[in-house]
């Protein structure tokens, strides 16, 4: 049984009794904010406890062609947006509306506003809540009913205590190899369900040297390998990122003292330890329809899942490199942060894209900062579309949903069937690889452009 890990320490101070656990932050988006959550509180005439710990955005249904996310694609979306606005008003939830300057994708906005702190428990009706582990917080992705539990009681029940696996990422990454490649490799190595029942603690040389935005990418994708919780121990990089942000604690140094105590001890005991050497890692590309169906860009497509090959209309034994794509999408809660856009711009600068390319910043702040350093001009001159923030093409909820079974090179997080639109064929990749793919119109190795 694990001992003295960050997860154990956070768990210990938040457990109330039995398996009832206290929640420090409740973060909300429009898709899960009403059914069985705020709707239930209204039905029961319950108040929302501790509204000062609740924050909301709108992200999934936004129209990325306009600054306020409108017009929505249909009347159902309009009602969903209106319902979110009513809920945040009536329950006293802090809301970063589209167009306010603080809007965008939940998992991009809440970190950059300094709302998520080390040692916290965070809940969101969204599987990618694992993202917040990048701060050494414990993010639980839940459904709407459990979100309602947290809104109404500030607590949820945990079904069972997770076991803790430490994953050491050893070595030094090659140029052009990104956090996205590292986490895709980890998922491929440990399997789509390798992390079921586990919290993953990421560490080692590679993580120690990784900036916060890249750590957010790593933890964001933790859930794709089954780990409901993925986290990284807070360190100087974490504290430096948080210092001065809008919602960071004002008594910051006192907070840092506490945060230092919450990291896993040197003598922490784990239920399992895995070591992954990533020195020779190549850029990764997904070929199939499950989260562990990815390969290095110079590998051949394997013959392990006929159904996936049929859906993707590719052949075992062929190269993944050179596969033509119809669309490139750079954005999402996985890869919609400034450093992701910088990586893409580095490759696109002075070149032209050969296919339709959507670049969607993860938040209004990311958009502002990107424009301040001229990234928008680089993308526009390359022939790419520079959009307003939103979940966009990551999943089939926004007007950017693919309609014609197109094939994408996408920096999002799921290569499932129909994920980006009915019949859409997704190849997941890093922003570097997506940019190179846009330039060639087929899946390309970004290292040739660096």
């Amino acid at each position: 049984m694990s001992k003295n890990t960050l997860f154990d320490k956070v768990n210990d101070i938040h457990i109330i009794k039995g398996n009832q656990i206290l929640i420090g932050r409740k973060v909300i988006h429009e898709v899960t904010s009403n059914p069985a959550s705020c709707e239930r509180l209204r039905d029961e005439k319950y108040e929302l406890r501790c509204p000062e710990t609740a924050f909301a955005v709108m992200d999934h249904i936004l129209n990325t062609k306009s600054p306020d996310g409108k017009p929505f694609k249909d009347a159902d979306d309009e009602l969903m947006a209106k319902t979110l606005e009513e809920n945040v008003r009536d329950f006293g939830i802090t809301y970063f509306a589209p167009g306010s300057g603080k809007g965008g994708i939940c998992h991009v906005v809440f970190p950059e506003q300094g709302i998520i702190w080390p040692g916290m428990t965070v809940i969101c009706g969204d599987s990618h809540t694992s993202t917040y582990g990048a701060f050494g917080a414990i993010g639980f992705g839940v459904g709407s009913t459990q979100l309602g539990h947290a809104l109404g009681s500030q607590t949820i029940y945990l079904d069972e205590k997770l076991k803790i696996r430490r994953i050491n990422f050893n070595g030094k990454l090659q140029k052009g190899v990104d956090a996205k490649d590292v986490i895709m490799y980890a998922i491929r190595s440990l399997g789509a369900k390798g992390g079921n029942g586990l919290a993953h603690e990421y560490g080692g040389e590679v993580i120690d040297n990784m900036g916060m935005e890249k750590r957010l990418t790593m933890c964001n994708m933790g859930i794709e390998g089954g780990a409901r919780v993925a986290y990284i121990n807070p360190d100087k990089i974490t504290f430096d990122y948080l210092r001065g942000r809008n919602y960071a604690p004002k008594d910051f140094e006192k907070a840092v003292e506490f945060w230092k105590t919450i990291a896993s001890d040197k003598n922490a005991v784990y239920d399992d330890v895995k070591d992954l050497d990533v020195s020779n890692l190549e850029p990764m590309v997904s070929w199939g329809t499950a989260s562990d169906e990815s390969i290095g860009i110079n590998e051949k497509i394997p013959n392990t899942n006929k159904d996936a090959l049929d859906y993707m209309r590719i052949n075992a034994g062929d190269s993944i490199k050179g596969t033509p794509v119809d669309v490139v999408f750079i954005g999402s809660c996985t890869n919609g942060r400034l450093s992701d856009l910088e990586n893409a711009a580095y490759i696109m600068k002075g070149r032209k894209v050969k296919v339709r390319t959507l670049i969607v910043p993860g938040s209004e702040l990311v958009k502002y900062e990107a424009e301040k350093i001229g990234l928008d001009k680089i993308f526009k001159e390359a022939g790419a579309e520079w959009r307003y923030p939103g979940c966009s093409m990551c999943l089939s909820m926004s007007p950017d949903t693919l309609m014609n079974k197109e094939r994408t090179g996408s920096t999002s997080n799921r290569n499932f069937k129909n994920r980006q639109g009915k019949g859409a064929k997704t190849h997941l990749m890093s922003p570097y690889t997506a940019a190179a793919t846009a330039i060639e119109g087929k899946i390309a190795d970004p290292r040739e452009y660096l």
Binding site: T32, P35, G143, Q146, S153, G197, K250
Partner: protein
């Protein structure tokens, strides 16, 4: 010692009914409810969206097969319900009339969503799950009994079979005691919640 809380009208001890075999590993919640259908503000009526894309593209889909209509149990594979946390998936099963799932294992968030919504999700060893799916294909009218008290799955294709089932202890108890619909219970100890908050430094940070 406090008395054990029991909510009689919500107790679920046993599910008995016919089953739909839906084999295959890594069935994700996008498969169960397509993203484009998530934009409704209530869960009522989600049954019609269950596996809708698969059903549209495959006339032989088990949910299109009349011999399985009226089934209360669905038999999946490994890592059932992975991916998105959308509760629309378990809600769609319930609205469709599915009261229990049998699989080799589940993704964590999906399993918690089942527990919180009153959808029984039990596991058996993966070879038994595969065998059971095949037996149901041969005997679609066969009834299966899922007994949470005895932790057994029973069925009688020819001879009688009883296979051990697994379900997290807390979840099993919540079904047997009728306490799975937990919002009211979680709200019943505000002093303890406040006490826990007072002890955690970050709740006091300015």
């Amino acid at each position: 010692m406090t008395e054990k809380l029991i909510i009689p009208e919500k107790i679920i001890k046993c599910i008995r009914g016919r089953a739909i075999p839906k084999p295959g590993n890594n069935q994700n919640t996008d498969d169960m409810v397509y993203g484009g259908q998530l934009n409704l503000i209530s869960f009522k009526g989600y049954g019609k969206y269950l596996y809708a894309e698969e059903r549209k593209n495959n006339p032989n889909h088990p949910l299109n097969d009349p011999k399985y209509s009226g089934a209360k149990i669905l038999i999946g594979g490994e890592n059932f319900g992975c991916g998105s946390s959308r509760e629309h998936a378990p809600q769609a099963f319930l609205d469709y009339g599915i009261k229990a799932l049998i699989a080799a294992d589940y993704a964590g968030i999906f399993q918690s969503n089942c527990a919180a919504t009153g959808l029984i999700a039990v596991t058996m060893e993966k070879d038994y799950v595969k065998d059971l799916a095949n037996i149901v294909k041969e005997n679609p009218s066969m009834e299966i009994e899922i007994d949470l008290e005895k932790k057994l799955v029973s069925y009688k294709p020819h001879g009688a079979y009883q296979i051990g089932l697994d379900i997290p202890d807390n979840v099993r108890e919540s079904f047997l005691n009728g306490t799975w619909d937990a919002l009211g219970i979680l709200r019943s100890n505000p002093k303890e919640v406040k006490g826990a908050m007072d002890k955690i430094p970050y709740f006091k940070f300015k």
